[in-house]
């Protein structure tokens, strides 16, 4: 097993939890390239120490309103979900996590 990854069942449990917490902003355009990457630092119990939006500069750029809306919704989902359903062991492995939020599939369907 690649120790740098979550197992499929660990990943599925985390995904399922966040799917339930993430209210996708229904007004977002489905045809724009919108991907928000958020880096998390976690405690062993799955609560948050820190969140960091990669591409944070886009949050305040003119014309990036949709990115900001998506990023804020993703942050709300993480807050709402915590403590995250993380594995019971191997803290060193997952204490830093990156979540990539992509709403295109849902909005374009």
């Amino acid at each position: 097993m690649d120790s740098s990854k979550l197992t499929l069942s660990e990943e599925d449990a985390l995904k399922a939890q966040i799917f339930g917490c993430w209210s996708i902003p229904l007004g977002l355009p489905y045809n724009e390239d919108l991907l928000v990457r958020i880096k998390l630092k976690l405690r062993p119990d799955g609560t948050l120490i820190k969140t960091e939006i990669l591409d944070h500069a886009r949050m305040n750029m003119p014309g990036q309103g949709f990115f900001r809306v998506l990023a804020e919704s993703a942050l709300r989902a993480i807050q709402l979900c915590q403590p995250l359903k993380v594995p019971t062991s191997g803290y060193e492995r997952w204490k830093d996590l990156q979540l990539n939020f992509d709403a295109r599939e849902m909005l374009g369907g």
Binding site: S4, P25, L26, R68, R104, M106
Partner: protein
């Protein structure tokens, strides 16, 4: 040699250990829930003195509460938000406006919160409001404005527009009006009047008396003027009406069948179709000098023209291919291209204010559809199907479409009705738009507070 091998091995071990210890686990989140966002709209607070002044001036018990209800209703109608019941609110409006106790709002599942305050200053209504992100425990937006007290419903609409824009990333459409044809009486003897109302159905005004048949009212870009078609002694006339003053003027009598006058995006021209020598083509008329210019010249029937928002193109429908289809051309009439190729008959094309889509009515196998397609005709999507519906008109943000729908009569000819409906661009959130009377031919204004 052994030592070199050992050292190399140690290096590889450390490199791989280092890389493992720093490699970041990534998880792709591609699904979520599409439930409307839970939002709490706290009544706007006011002190007792202000409350009494508003009670006297506006005959309203609690103006702050009434404004919050306008906002709540707008947000709910949009289909994107779920305003939470005020009965569950734990914090008083005045305290919440200063500093919300986020845990209280989080407890009732609110993800966003609107608070505010109303006061009277020099006989003017002053309103402050704030939008809060409950889960991030921070302010997202704070604004204030001053207006005359009678404008309090518009204040609710303007606040909704600001909140909507901040939370969805696109402009709102709440501080707008809808003009339509009000209809009363039996189907064979309908009395039709021009009527105008706020987009939420309040403040209805009738602009004509109902003596003459009126059709297809359309706003100009500044919202002050409306063009429409009326029959005088059985002759179609194109009128201009100033909504504020009520002053009306005849733009012209045109021969034969005249259809669907509509403004150009700069408001300087009216584009329409009329029949000259038995042939229906598209014409523009300069409002100032009344010079008429022919845009299409084809033996087929060309009608229902609508400009692109930049004024460079026109979409219209024509039966030049044998059946009525949608076409796009340059605004001088050149470079005509057919864009609809699906089964059925297409009509009433209207260019979206965003410029990316054209809304239309389609008739196929006895059913009427309201749909959208891209301006090159690709990506056709049918949003709603019914017995009879037509005349789509876009909300100014290009996200919602209003149209009208007629019901079937029974064998005795009873049960006929015509109502306004709205639908979201995604095909969700189909809603009846309440009007006092039956209604048809709606046209949505641009934002009043632009």
């Amino acid at each position: 040699m052994k030592i070199i091998k050992l050292l190399t091995g140690i290096c590889i071990f450390f490199l791989s250990y280092t890389s493992n210890s720093f490699s970041l686990i990534e998880v792709d989140i591609t699904r979520g829930n599409l439930n409307p966002l839970p939002i709490a709209v706290s009544p706007l607070s006011q002190n007792n003195k202000t409350k009494k002044i508003f009670q006297n001036k506006l005959n309203l018990d609690d103006l702050g509460l009434e404004i919050s209800k306008v906002i709540e209703n707008n947000l709910k109608q949009s289909g994107l938000f779920n305003p939470l019941s005020k009965d569950a609110f734990l914090q008083k409006p005045d305290i919440a406006h200063l500093k919300p106790r986020f845990e209280d709002w989080s407890l009732i599942k609110a993800q966003a919160l609107i608070t505010g305050k109303v006061l009277i200053e020099n006989d003017k209504l002053k309103v402050e409001f704030r939008l809060w992100d409950v889960l991030a425990a921070r302010e997202m937006l704070a604004l204030s404005f001053t207006t005359v007290p009678n404008n309090w419903r518009r204040v609710g609409h303007i606040i909704t527009d600001k909140v909507y824009e901040r939370l969805t990333g696109e402009k709102g459409y709440f501080d707008t009006r809808i003009i339509y044809v009000s209809e009363e009486g039996p189907k064979t003897q309908r009395v039709k009047k021009l009527a105008i109302m706020d987009q939420d159905g309040f403040n209805i005004k009738y602009l004509t008396l109902g003596n003459e048949l009126v059709l297809t009212p359309r706003f100009n870009p500044t919202n002050q003027m409306v063009t429409y078609l009326s029959y005088f002694r059985n002759l179609p006339r194109v009128y201009l009406l100033d909504i504020e003053t009520g002053i009306q003027e005849v733009v012209g009598d045109f021969p034969g069948m005249t259809f669907a006058p509509r403004f150009s995006p700069d408001g300087k021209k009216i584009i329409m179709s009329f029949a000259k020598d038995g042939n229906s083509d598209i014409y523009t008329m300069d409002i100032e000098n009344r010079i008429v210019e022919r845009i299409t010249n084809h033996p087929s029937i060309d009608t229902s023209p609508s400009y692109s928002p930049n004024g460079k193109h026109i979409t219209f429908n024509s039966d030049r291919s044998g059946y009525q289809q949608i076409y796009v051309m340059k605004s001088d009439g050149s470079n005509v291209k057919r864009i609809s190729f699906g089964k059925g008959i297409y009509g009433t094309p209207v260019w979206s204010p965003r410029g990316d889509l054209i809304a239309f009515t389609k008739l196929h196998k006895g059913k009427f559809y309201i749909g959208v397609m891209r301006t090159d005709g690709k990506g056709e999507r049918l949003l709603t199907e019914n017995f009879y519906q037509e005349a789509p008109s876009w909300a100014p943000n290009g996200r919602v479409i209003i149209f009208y729908r007629e019901t079937k009569t029974n064998k005795e000819g009873e049960g006929f009705s015509a109502k306004l409906w709205s639908i979201d661009l995604t095909g969700y959130n189909e809603r009846l738009v309440e009007t006092e009377t039956d209604a048809s031919d709606p046209s949505w204004s641009s934002l009043l507070s632009n």
